[in-house]
Each structure stands twice: as C-alpha cells, then as structure tokens.
Subunit: 475 residues, 2 copies
C-alpha cells in the first residue's frame, strides 16, 4: 500500500454518496462550503442503484399492467400483454444510469470533489481513504457519515442469488418466477410481491418475525390484506421460520403456525427483505468512542450531529426508520448546521409510501399511536368507492382516513390507500407540520372531480358531513 506523504486538509468530508450523502454535499456546496464526497461504489448509493429506484421501475410497470384491466371499458382494444422482464431490466438500468449521471453532473456543477475509495476514521479529525493500493489521509473540519446499510437475512436463510434473493439481487433476476415466496413485511417486500404478481408469478407472502399484520394503521392493514387476498396472494401470519431448503428447482420454507403445527411453503424462488444493518464495520467509529444505540445505530441530535461535535451522521446508519426521505432531510440539515445555520430535523411526520396496487401513503400517527400518545382520538374514513374520479378511473379500492385530537381538532394522522395516494400525501404532511385543524382542511377548495375530494370528505366525515357518505355511515 502506498500511503500519501502528506495529510491533505479539507473543510467537509462526506462519507457515502447515497441520497443522504449527495443531498448533503450539494446543499453544503450551495451554502459556500468546499465539499469532498467519498464513495466506494456508485454515486446514488443503494437507493438509486439497487433499492427504491429499481423497485419503483418495477411497480410502475406493474401498475401499467394493472391499468390494462380497464382498457376495453376505455375503448382501447389491444392484445393480451406479454411481460418481458429483460426489457424492463434494460429500462431499469437506463433509468438508474441516467439518474446517476445526473447526480454526478450536479456534484461537478456544484464543485463537489468526489473521491473513489473506502474511508475510515483515524482520529476525530482525520480519515484515511483507501483505493486500490493507495491510502490517503485527510484532515477535516467536519465530516458526515452517510454510509447506509446492508440487508441481512434471518439466521436460517441464505441468499444464493439463484433461487434466493434480497433487494440487492432481485432486480437482476432474469426470469419471472413461477411461484415467488416473499419473506418480510416492509415496503420493498410489498412492492416485490405486487410487482411479480402483476408480471404473472404466483406469489405467497410470509410475514417475518411471526408478525400478525403489516405495520400501518389497522384500517390500512385490513384493506391491504383484502387487496392481497383479491390478488390471490396467500398471506402467512404469525408463522415462525424454522428452516429453509433449496434444490435446483425449488425453495421451501418450513414454518410453525401459531398453534405449533408445521407448515411448509414451497415455491420456485424466495425473496427476503428482513433487516438492514448499518455499514459501520470498517469505518473505525469505535476508535472514536462515538455513541451508538444497542443495535449499533449512531445516535444523533436534531441537527444530525453525533456525540462527536464535528462529525454528523445521516440516513440508515442512524437510529429510526431506514428510508431515503430521512437520509435526504438529515443530509440537508447537517449541511446547513455545518454552514452555521440553525436548522432542525423533525422526523415526527415522516411520510411512508408503498407503491402497491393501489399505493399506500401515510403520515403522522396511526389511530393506535394517537391513543397511546394520550390523545382523545377521533377518526373518520372515506372510501374511494364514493369518489367520482375514482369511479372514472375504475379504481375504487381504498380510502382516506384521518386521525384527530378531539379536544383541539388538530389533525395528527393522514392515511391513504388508493389511486393518487402518494401525490396526495404531501397535503397531509404540510397540514400536519402547520398544525392544521379540521377547518384548515375543509376551508380550501378541492378540484372537482378529483381524488383530492376523497381527502376532503374524510375530514368532513369527522363531523358527519361527508357529502358522499350516507348519514348512517357517519358518526
């Protein structure tokens, strides 16, 4: 190894070029800082290259296949679709490349110095960057750790990328499984299950860790289960995973159901989305005595600052939900704090989005969480079957649900499953952040006809005043 002769000096070094890292880098550059970004693989990180973006390409294709069910009503005659997963993968690769090049160009335009290599802390103000035979040492004023996470599997499952896949490998699977078994419960497990269902695979879904449901508001969980059932996706709840076996043509999971009976689920392929561990092993933060929680995630304050004052940490390496939206926000806030501003990241109202068919988007407290938090809870729900625009779309599954504090009429949660949920959820986010009361959401005008009116009517239903719900169905 060739160790650089001199220690180079840098203002801000960001380790990891995923969404958190590159958003931090560009925001810091916008604020006048000189920024160095160290990435050992591809700019864009797991989210862009192997996670959220590829998954959305798949779910988008799946939703277009789903749309075709209504084509003949809409006067559109066409042949039964054939799915070519190789073409979809080419498109996925071109989208990923296109976006990655875009981010690289933005880094360049913002004069962000990009170093290729693996970084590790030497002291609280020095890191080494190893690339091939070179090892360069940099002294920094500030650093941001944005190294992300890596999927891990349950003990008794091993990923072979031939029959058994995780999120890093599933998007390279060159065939549509005859029978895909999904083990997990998170957004990517749901997106994979729904995508391959639409692509023509038989899908079975085993909830991980003996869960008895997904982790949304109970009403969403129920609707989602109804939708999975309608799609003939069999759901295994409260089953303990005992063993996995793989042959040349099959995979099989051995489970115990909640009565202790042995159940076997056999398919042709297995997809596992279990947990992600923070990428901290080779980073040397133990050397720095940086505070981590019991699961090994870095503890940060509301400016994404670690226990070491000049080092920040963002995204999947930190405590809490592992979502790109969190990494992006923390990244911007860290950059702003380093630039001398006084920003704050508040993850209370982090939106969760799943591109199932129909999509799910929620923000704020579930009904159960609101009760647990001590609110005098009032809820209401408006089914999209009562929404004119959903009728036009032929997409009447789903609803909007509102959770409020009865005493203050402040809205504390917005939960949508149905067409347009993702785009609509930002109405909820803005309302929650602005401490909107019911009337703040009923006063504005909602375009007609639109799915948006479903959100309005959900709020109106709190007072028994949804127009398109019969009086008996309203409190």
């Amino acid at each position: 190894m060739v160790v650089g002769e001199i220690t180079q000096e840098r203002d801000l070094i960001i380790i990891g070029g995923g969404p958190g890292g590159y958003n931090a880098a560009i925001r810091a550059a916008q604020l006048g800082l000189e920024v160095t970004l160290v990435e050992k693989a591809d700019i864009g990180g797991v989210c862009l290259n192997k996670g959220c973006i590829p998954s959305k390409v798949y779910t988008h294709s799946a939703s277009k296949l789903d749309d075709m069910k209504n084509f003949s009503s809409l006067g559109i005659e066409t042949s039964k679709p054939m799915m070519h997963i190789d073409q979809l993968q080419e498109y996925k690769n071109s989208v990923v490349e296109n976006l990655r090049k875009g981010v690289e160009a933005l880094c360049k335009a913002n004069k962000v110095e990009v170093l290729s290599g693996t970084a590790s802390f030497l002291t609280e103000d020095k890191i080494g960057v190893e690339e091939g035979h070179n090892f360069d040492v940099y002294k920094f004023k500030h650093a941001i750790i944005a190294t992300g996470s890596t999927p891990i599997s349950p003990e008794n499952i091993s990923i072979d990328n031939t029959r058994v896949f995780n999120s890093h490998s599933i998007f390279d699977l060159k065939e549509i499984p005859e029978h895909l078994v999904v083990y997990g419960s998170d957004y990517i497990a749901l997106e994979i299950a729904m995508s391959f269902h639409h692509f023509g695979a038989k899908v079975s879904f085993v909830l991980d860790e003996q869960k008895d449901s997904f982790e949304f508001d109970d009403s969403i969980n129920r609707e989602l289960q109804r939708i999975l059932k309608k799609a003939k996706i069999k759901l295994y709840k409260k089953h303990e995973l005992l063993a996995q076996s793989v042959t040349e043509s099959e995979i099989s999971l051995t489970l115990h159901n909640d009565k202790g009976d042995e159940v076997s689920v056999t398919g042709t392929h297995l997809f596992v989305s279990y947990k992600n561990q923070p990428n901290l092993n080779s980073l040397g933060i133990d050397r720095l005595k940086m505070e981590v929680n019991e699961d090994g995630f870095i503890i940060t304050d509301n400016q994404a600052r670690t226990s070491i004052g000049n080092i920040f940490a963002i995204g999947d390496v930190t405590e809490g939900k592992q979502l790109a939206v969190k990494a992006i926000k923390q990244g911007k806030v860290a950059a702003e704090a380093i630039a001398g501003q006084t920003p704050e990241v508040d993850l209370t109202f982090i939106p969760t989005v799943v591109h199932t068919t129909p999509p799910i988007a929620t923000v704020g407290l579930t009904e159960a969480e609101a009760k647990e938090a001590g609110h005098n809870v009032k809820v209401s729900q408006f089914s999209l079957s009562g929404n004119g625009y959903a009728t036009i779309l032929g997409k009447k599954d789903g609803f909007a649900k509102i959770v409020t504090d009865q005493d203050t009429e402040v809205i504390v949660g917005v939960h949508v499953i149905g067409a347009g949920a993702v785009e609509l959820i930002t109405s909820g986010s803005i309302a929650l952040e602005m401490v909107a009361r019911e009337e703040d959401m009923t006063f504005p005008l909602y375009p007609h006809p639109s799915i948006n009116e479903g959100l309005l009517e959900a709020v109106e239903a709190l007072k028994g005043q949804a127009i398109h719900l019969p009086p008996t169905k309203q409190k």
Copy 2:
C-alpha cells in the same frame, strides 16, 4: 294546466340538482333542515351528465393511450391499440349513470325531497314548479338558485350536432373525426383537443376571441404550447373568426390573422367551447329585482346570499369562474348559512385543473397577477426533467412554479404542469389558505422518489437551493 289548490310550505327549496345544488341539499339536510330539491332534467346537472365527468372519462382514456408509448420500455408487449369510441361512450354512460344513481341514493338517505319540474319565482317567498300539466306553488323560508349555465356559441357559428358540436353534444359523437377543429381556450376545449388527438384525430386549435394564448401563468402557457406543438396540434393565435361553413363532409372556419390576411381552417368536425350564459331566463328573478351584474350573472356576498336576503345563488349563475368546485363550495356555505352558521366562501384560491397530457393544476396568483396586485414578486421553477420519479414514469414534461411575495416570503401562487399535478395541487391549496411561507413548504418531509419532490424543489429554488438544479439555473 292544473294549478295546485293549496300553497305548500317548505323550509328550503333548492332549484337545480347539479354539483352545487346537491351538495347544498345534502349539507343542509346534514344540518337538520328539511330540504326540497327541484330539478327539471337529471340530478347531477351538466357537470355530471354532460360536462366535467364525461370529459374526464375521455381524458382518462386518452392518458392510458399515451401511457402505451412507454410500454415496451416497461417490458410490456402488446399490439398497437385500436380505439373504439362506442365502447368508451358506453363506459361514459355507465359511469354517469352510476354516479347519478349514487347522488339520488344520497338525497334519499338524507331525506331530501326531490321534485321534478321547472321552477320560477312568483314572489320573494314563493315559487311555482311546473311539470307537464301540473303547476304547484310552494312558499319557502329560504331558496338557493343553482340552475347552472348553458353553452352559447359565437354569432357566426351554429351547432348542428352533426359536424359542429358543443360540450353538450361532443360526447355523443359516434366517430373519431379525421380532422377536428377546436374553437375555444378553456379547460374543456383543451381536454377535447388532447383526447381526440390521442384517439387518432388530426386536431387544429383556434383560440377564441383573438386570444394570443391560454389563460394560465405565462410559463404554463408556454409549456402547454410546446406540448401542443409536440403533439402536432396546430394552434391559431390572434385570429378573428369571420365565418363558418359546413358541407356534408367538411367544416371550415374563415379567419383573419393579426396582419389582416384571410386564413381558412378546414376539418371534418368542429368543436366549440365559447361562453356559458346563466340559466335565468324562465326563473323570474327580474320580477324580484334581484341584483345581477352587467353580464346578467347574480351578485352574491361571501355567504352566497343574493340581494334578497332569504335567497341564495351558487355556481354558474353567479359572477366569476364557472367551475364545479366553486358551485360545490358555495352550495355548502349557503346551506350552512341558512342553518344559522357563519361560514364564508373565499374564492381567492380556487384551483384550476385541466386534464391535458400532462395535466395542469394551478392555484393562487400567476406571476403577472401577483405583480399587478402589488407584490414584490419572486418566482422559481423546477422542471420535472430533474425529478427522479418523473424519469421512472417516462414523463419528464412539465414543471412546478412557485410565486411568492419576496418581502414576507408568503407563497401566493402554485402552478404545476406535469404528471401528478392534480393530486399535488391540494398541497398548494392548503399551503395558500394557511398563509404558508417558504419554510412551511421546505420543512416537511417529501417521500422519495416522488413527483412531490418536484414541488419541494420548486420552493427550494427560490433560494437557489434546489438540489437537482445546477447552480447556474438558479438565482
């Protein structure tokens, strides 16, 4: 004619069962009033039966045809689509019937008395309702006029419903025109032009009244014109309409361009969306000396009350924009006022939505309006070509534009053209109504990847801090 022997008494009589009327009726019933709704044709009015709903069925079909351009990228192999407008019309009819029956059932469930017939005021507290040979007289405490409007044509165009159509007849046209000429500039002209373009017609578009553009924010107007051009829809601006001629197989418009040269536009069919006149002719409001403006529209206060204290008017018969969203809001407010509440309708932030491909949705002031209103205006714009989710969708046309007051940082206008615009616009409406400042829109978390992030980046661009815009393109 058989005149009813006795004058019957009613609390609240609503004349007209369109979106304004039926929303008013149901809201009034929800608040404990006894409600009588008089409708001479179909419940749901023009919007449901002949206007916005049918138009959205057409635009939805058109958008699905447009989606198919990306199918092969998405791995979906299918044959070239054939468009069957008769099937689409069947679907349109079934949607309309389904929705109308839904509204009828809701009226029933809310114990709204529905009378079939034509109403006219006899005095300030009496109306007659004529149905066939019967004429019944009703004394009322309150009345709401919700009779809507009827499309009219320019002097030199006559609608024959064979070659020349307006919005009441175009949705029954049984063929796809070889060459459709559209005369107008409003949302329905745009929706018809775009729909038939996707259905395979050649489309030419003549702006009415010698307009030189559409009536959105200038940036939207430009993007829309670019999109029309890309769709090979020829746009005639600043042309004066001189004459129309119709043969058995052709229609032709004779125009003068702005240089005074004669221009002829010939097609196989003509669609006209010009103006709508209030349906007040047989209503007898002149007898009541009700105040109307110079164009004959009823003047109302911010509770939708006319100059006669116990009579309210809502929707297209009143001054201002002729949009269902206005009628619905005014209807609810009128009902609440009559029930003794103190509601208010504020139409400042009325959303305008057009289901072109891509859709347009705007709320609040345009840049020009904001300047005229005396704001120290600052604007920013974020192109969807920089949005990751738009890239996945293959829908990179369009942008989000924000108009703010520089001195207060209060947002005064949100303008979106692009995928997801309609669902996204309610974020803008809520923000505007809550007097959001820039930071109220940058503080919340936006799901990743999503079109929603385009809205965020448009706001961030106000300070030169959109992540996905190079520094040179931001101020």
